[in-house]
Assembly symmetry: C2
Homo-oligomer: 251 residues x 2
């Protein structure tokens, strides 16, 4: 048996999220269905770096699977893309060592969040950006973001319906960039709780509109109380951009 790892991009819009659900169109479900065809009916399970919610996109999700097929490494991406729907694309497929695990081997992840700042919105990006029309104080957001950086108990930024017990995570990067008419949040850390990036972005936007003071962020984090943080920003602005491993496995 060989172990293969794939870097995959998907547009989350027309999926009921990542994880397999009976009767629903999911990313995992589509990939496993394509692998089943390649394996002549044999059921395969893929293991990803983590789930993404419905509407959430990926430009660099990673999954692995085991196969007994002798398809050359260079042909896997093309073979899968020929069977996958157009809203899932394998960017690269590589062979990995037996002890690699897309989730457990990951040391950090980068998420991105796109906010469209134009007054009128853009029909062609309606599913790709969160359209936000209120004026934003970018300096205030940057000041607030400083409190998020570092190692904290992020209970305040975790959706209530989670079974995770250890909520201590380290955010190593939280950056804002203007890209054309969009505001881009880049968030990197060793791990993320359920809805953590979206609650962070939602809270920082409330700082940006003056609804909250930048200094409040410290108390919000220390309070470990979800109800003290801001709203969860919508899923369709979020992208799982990169999953990092101790040694880079993709080109």
């Amino acid at each position: 048996m060989r172990k293969m790892a794939c870097k995959v991009a998907y547009e989350g819009t027309y999926f009921a999220g990542y994880q397999v659900q009976p009767g629903k169109r999911t990313i995992q479900g589509e990939i496993e269905a394509s692998l089943k065809k390649i394996h002549k009916g044999e059921e395969l399970r893929i293991h990803s770096s983590g789930r993404t919610d419905s509407l959430v996109h990926a430009t660099g999700q990673v999954f692995h699977f085991e196969t007994s097929l002798a398809i050359p490494v260079s042909r896997w991406a093309k073979a899968l893309n020929a069977l996958l729907p157009a809203d899932i694309r394998i960017i690269e497929a590589v062979e990995v060592s037996k002890d690699f695990h897309a989730r457990y081997s990951a040391i950090s992840k980068q998420y991105r969040y796109r906010i469209l700042l134009t007054k009128e919105g853009d029909l062609f990006r309606r599913n790709h950006c969160y359209h936000f029309t209120e004026m934003l104080d970018i300096e205030a957001i940057k000041e607030a973001a400083q409190h998020i950086l570092g190692k904290h108990d992020f209970s305040a930024f975790c959706a209530a319906n989670t079974s995770v017990i250890d909520k201590i995570r380290t955010v190593t990067r939280l950056e804002l960039q203007h890209v054309g008419d969009e505001l881009l949040f880049i968030v990197e850390g060793d791990g993320f709780l359920y809805n953590m990036v979206r609650i962070m972005v939602g809270t920082l936007l409330e700082v940006g509109t003056g609804k909250r003071d930048p200094h409040e962020l410290q108390a919000i984090i220390e309070g470990c109380d979800r109800t003290k943080a801001g709203k969860t920003a919508p899923g369709h602005g979020l992208y799982l951009h990169q999953v990092n491993y101790p040694e880079p496995i993709f080109s």
Copy 2:
């Protein structure tokens, strides 16, 4: 009765084209269904500047209709957008004089054609740009484009299945722009035949790849023979960008 004109944008991807067809989702059909709701069941017909094919987008299509409703001009766009699906957006609604006609009053139109030049393509623009991976000689395309400019019988650039007899049109602008990783064709003229822009773009791309000589364009136009021109570029790269009237009716 008042006459209203609307500037409308739509993503053509999930429509069977512009024109009403029984049992199919079309742009005209969706707009007329929304107007019917506003008019409490009364059937209305809209008149556009022209049809667009399936997959073709619009950022500035124009249509008009007559109404007996007293809704203030400033509320029409919002009222319609509340009923229309998310892939059709009214940009502006204005009241026009009785003799205005979206099609017959138009003096010129601008189309745009987006070509994505990156090697790998972009999942999020797969329905919005024609992904073209061959190397292009832009100077050769510009040279060929000079032959298209001006007043010609454009029979060579007209799909065979058309009932139009007079095929003389004037192309007043044919420009290439690099916009990020895309190549943008901007084409303006007093009128366009069926598939004219797509056949032009398809032919110019064949010049760009060296399959044709820039000078061939003159013979192609003079020959008035569709089979001598190049392939029809795919619909999903094309945008109806603007319709012009003797006096500007939109802001």
